[in-house]
Amino acid sequence: MARVVAGIACSHVPAIGVAIDKGKTGTPYWEPLFKGYEPARKWLAELKPDVAIVVYNDHANALSLQIIPTFLIGVADEFPIADEGFGPRPVPKVLGHPELAWHLAESLILDEFDMTIANEMPVDHGLTVPLSITCGQPAAWPFPVIPICVNVVQYPPPTGARCYKLGQAIRRAVAGFGGDLRVLIYGTGGMSHQLQGERAGLINQDFDAAFLDGLTRDPLALTRITHTEYMRESGSEGIEMVMWHVMRGALDEDAIEVYRHYHVPASNTAAALMILANRSAS
């Protein structure tokens, strides 16, 4: 049977993508951040997952304010790279896994998660930057990807608790898929950052450290963080961390921390990368 074997929490700062695309990862500014990604790339190359679910938010590229799905799943054969206002990133197109994606869509809806289904959708840096961070610059991505978008642009995003439950439903749905697939799940966005207003540039390293610790120590406690607390403590865009709960909920309760990297700043943001794995995965 198919199963979720591991999860990756990863910030998706657009400037990280630009640094990779323009060959600047060795500069004094970027080198400490990218050095910390190397062990994760090695780990992922050894894991060789069959498919990855990437939980992220679209940034006014595939979706606009015209229609705002709270949760959306992409079921296409492939997903083109979005033009975010300065041309598409020079990265490979993202291949989907329509069989598993449609199975997830059906299972999740029948499990009372009312997913929006996308048959055509470009993907933006929210999805491609975590792939670049963890896979480098291959000619083709090493695995097919199922995009799951969470609204964090129009207030309110879904609660952390709801996101965690969606993750649990994803785990059940994956287990119900006939086929021996090993599934990796990414939760992207965060950590502390604020891009707007007079308070732009806010970083809260204490909040971030406690959040990273909590992912293994007491993930359910983290799901009780309110939207106002995220915004007050970790910046208005820190609220993206609700998406990490989807990833966490899809893993076993006693999943272990495999690797952690945290760096300030990546442009306006505290950037983190954490690998979690189910004990049964090894």
């Binding site: 590229n61 304010l65 300065f86 891009l195 207003g197 308070r199 806010l202 939207h227 007050r232 306006n268």
Partner: protein, 136 residues
């Protein structure tokens, strides 16, 4: 979760909620249009004429034409959308973030290198707060 809007006590923060969603819709959809290269070209050729295609209020038009980034947020702009104007101008998120808090790009970049704006003193609106603490 209750719907108390208790986030309004956070200083210097413009949460894109239902009220801003109603007033800012046209402004943000104009920004969204700049995702298409042909629209970026039209906008650059004649900004005022391009803006005529969208039902913006006079104040919303002013904030766009003057690149009043903070003003855009106050009249319903959403940063994920208004940033597309900045990309069109060749600016980065850091350029815009600095301008929104009244700092030069260099000073803002230095603040980020030093660990960012401190959350201490920046959690709640405080009329008597030490002005220094506001700039972290």
């Amino acid at each position: 979760m209750s719907n108390t809007r208790d986030y309004e006590s956070i200083p210097g923060t413009y949460v894109y909620d239902a009220r801003r969603g109603r007033s800012g819709y046209a402004l943000n959809m104009f920004c969204m249009s700049l995702a298409k290269p042909e629209n970026r070209k039209s906008f650059k050729e004649n900004e005022a004429a391009y803006l005529d295609r969208f039902p913006l209020s006079p104040e919303q038009r002013r904030t766009v034409l003057e690149r009043d980034w903070l003003g855009m947020l106050r009249v319903g702009g959403n940063i994920y959308y208004t940033i597309k104007i900045a990309f069109c101008d060749g600016l980065t998120f850091q350029d815009v973030a600095g301008r929104m808090c009244g700092m030069s790009t260099e000073a803002y970049a230095q603040m980020m290198l030093a660990g960012g704006r401190n959350v201490d003193g920046n959690r709640f609106k405080q009329p008597e707060a030490d002005p220094e603490s506001h700039h972290g």
